[in-house]
Symmetry: C2
Subunit: 395 residues, 2 copies
């Protein structure tokens, strides 16, 4: 074990700053930040640290024995992580988009180089979901992982549902509090949840699925009619990411708003919190809940990864070698609520069964069964239209 980790840090946004503060306050002997690489060297950071805008000042410093990468740009993040692994420098990242697109090759690269890449902080901030899926839930017959993985959209939904706040006000508030990504569409349209779901699925079921293959749909077109419908049914709308192993051994994945009834654990996950329900055959349901966004909780999660590096922890990716890695499928029928305006929009949806149909002068909706595959097929057509889709399970 190295006597001390000398960290080369990339990025000094909300999470980078959070990590800096957490390290200052905990005063660990085991790790300290040696140099910080930022894009704009002229910005006043308000801390006494050694900044640079040249990555070579990090990679060329022989004293640096850990790279921590907390930048927004997924392409730049990928270059840093790859370069670190190739130089045999352990690396911690929080960039879920980068991971979601490159996990397969990064797993290979870790194997080839023997150098660890840790990223528990990338999914659900302070909730140790990856580590637990990797280490603890590795032998029971895991059935599903389902959760609210995006603090920002959940914050907005909470403000809308509980405080009657308008959508733009709630979004602005989330951004001011540092919960929202710099590109809010990542949060609102479900892509941030999708990226985390892909990472989680790899550790839960040993299967990597490309982001493009998954149906993802967010909350940006939700309106007052949808909120009223949910409230009348004593439910709340939550943006849910979901992976589940079917009885036939195949596996479905999706990110979709869901009408959640009161007796579900995630019904009570409010504000910027995340909540994950892990279901197994023998332990039934486990619920993990905590802050999924914000500089301090995420910085604290990054620190957990740093300390794991200190103790030479690596993800083993045991499940990738399991005999029964499930195939991904979207051949799965489920019940949805669809609020729409124009009848030609309704015609896009190939419902198997229509269970309810409601038309008034101001509002129209149907409740019916549709296959995930059919939804996936029309994913680009339905985005941006005056309609809203949510999963509407029987209970």
């Amino acid at each position: 074990m190295a006597e001390r980790l000398n960290i080369g840090l990339f990025g000094f946004g909300t999470v980078g700053r959070g990590l800096y503060d957490v390290l200052e306050e905990t005063r660990l002997k085991e790790a300290r930040i040696r140099r910080i690489c930022v894009r704009n060297l002229n910005k006043d950071r308000g801390v006494d640290a050694d900044f640079t805008d040249n990555p070579d000042d990090i990679f060329g410093d022989p004293a640096i024995n850990l790279i921590v990468e907390l930048i927004d740009d997924a392409d730049a993040s990928y270059r840093i992580v790859r370069r670190a692994l190739e130089a045999n420098i352990p690396v911690v990242t929080g960039n879920k988009k980068m991971l979601a697109y490159h996990l397969r090759e990064l797993v290979e690269l870790q194997r080839a180089t023997g150098t660890p890449l840790l990223y528990d902080a990338s999914a659900c901030g302070s909730i140790p979901v990856i580590r637990n899926l990797e280490e603890y839930y590795d032998n029971d017959l895991l059935i599903s992982v389902k959760g609210i993985l995006n603090g920002s959209s959940n914050f907005i939904l909470s403000k809308i549902f509980n405080e009657n706040m308008s959508y733009p006000d709630a979004l602005r508030m989330a951004q001011e509090l540092g919960f929202a990504e710099s590109d809010p569409s990542l949060d609102i349209d479900g892509f941030d949840s999708l990226f985390k779901l892909i990472i989680i699925t790899l550790h839960a079921f040993g299967r990597y699925v490309e982001p493009e293959r998954i149906f993802v749909y967010g909350i940006s077109s939700m309106n007052d009619d949808d909120i009223r419908f949910a409230t009348e049914k004593k439910r709340r709308i939550k943006l849910v990411a979901h992976v589940e192993k079917l009885q036939d051994g195949r596996m479905i994945m999706c990110v979709i708003p869901q009408l959640i009834s009161r007796d579900k654990y995630i019904y009570s996950v409010e504000d910027e919190f995340n909540g994950v329900v892990i279901k197994g055959k023998f332990y039934y349901k486990q619920f993990m809940f905590g802050r999924g966004a914000g500089g301090y909780p995420t910085g604290s999660a990054v620190l957990s990864d740093i300390m794991a590096c200190f103790y030479h922890y690596k993800y083993e990716y045991k499940k990738l070698n399991s005999e029964s890695v499930p195939e991904y499928t979207d051949d799965f029928v489920f019940r949805i609520y669809l609020r729409y305006s124009a009848d030609e929009d309704l015609a896009l949806f190939r419902f198997r069964t229509i269970r309810e149909k409601y038309v008034s002068e101001t509002s129209k909706y149907v409740v019916g069964d549709i296959s995930l595959h059919d939804l996936y097929t029309i994913r680009d057509d339905i985005r941006g239209r005056n309609l809203f889709v949510a999963a509407y399970p029987e209970n």
Copy 2:
């Protein structure tokens, strides 16, 4: 890594049988039960396995490379665990009472022999609380761990509070479902929670405190007046185990029924479930929730320990060597509710302040502030009397 773990199992009660079934169903290549040592060889176990009543048949079998100890008797459990460690055979145990009394020397013995002892299954069944305290929450400034750690008493409280069941009926139901220990007073009087709290505290704060030093008080004297009081205040009574680091760096611990308000996470922990709230300076609160009792969930937790052994995992007990291990103190004042009958019983309590006093023809109670130390001093005097004490926090 051993090619396969050949398990010598002690005990075939609810959890032992649960482990057997979980292993049968998951059909792991990595581990199988080779022999089972039970007290009564004549009892029909209904499974096709190699039973013995002689411990030497386990310890003398050179093929056995893991001992799993799931018996009720804490003294016998201690002898088995000690013998296993001294013979350099890794051992998994679920016996919290044994651990609570012997953890200090068992930590030493692990160090001396280099042989691992794992016991995540001993606290909170399927919730990986020890592993997470040990591995994940090891660097943030941990403030407190608080939770419902006993599924059986919580099951009883749920039945009483939600279904108006009588206390004896609820207890019988818990026993029939296999949630209650063979000695129900361990559950009801809080000792099972205490044992788990002692284990958790060692992994949370690096401090071992003897069970005798802790104030522990259960629910056996709770009556309808107490339930009515709680309900009127829109609270529920839960049996809560609690360890908290005070601002002065010292640490309090106790097990006591608590009047829990609706906005607390553990308010919604019902039936045989356990819930643990871990509070840290930077991630605020984490909530972990799952089945804490029953053969399958606990068997599944034992299997997690077994697989961790397979991968050569050991508890590092890092916090024991920390520079700031907190001292235990009971010098702490808090608000309690006391329902009593005889005035001489009230006189036992050295209240600092009485905030409310209520007397009717059938019921009397006070709400007031008292020190944990003063409660500890009268712990033997108040047990078995017609009175009931519960912590009653301001919010």
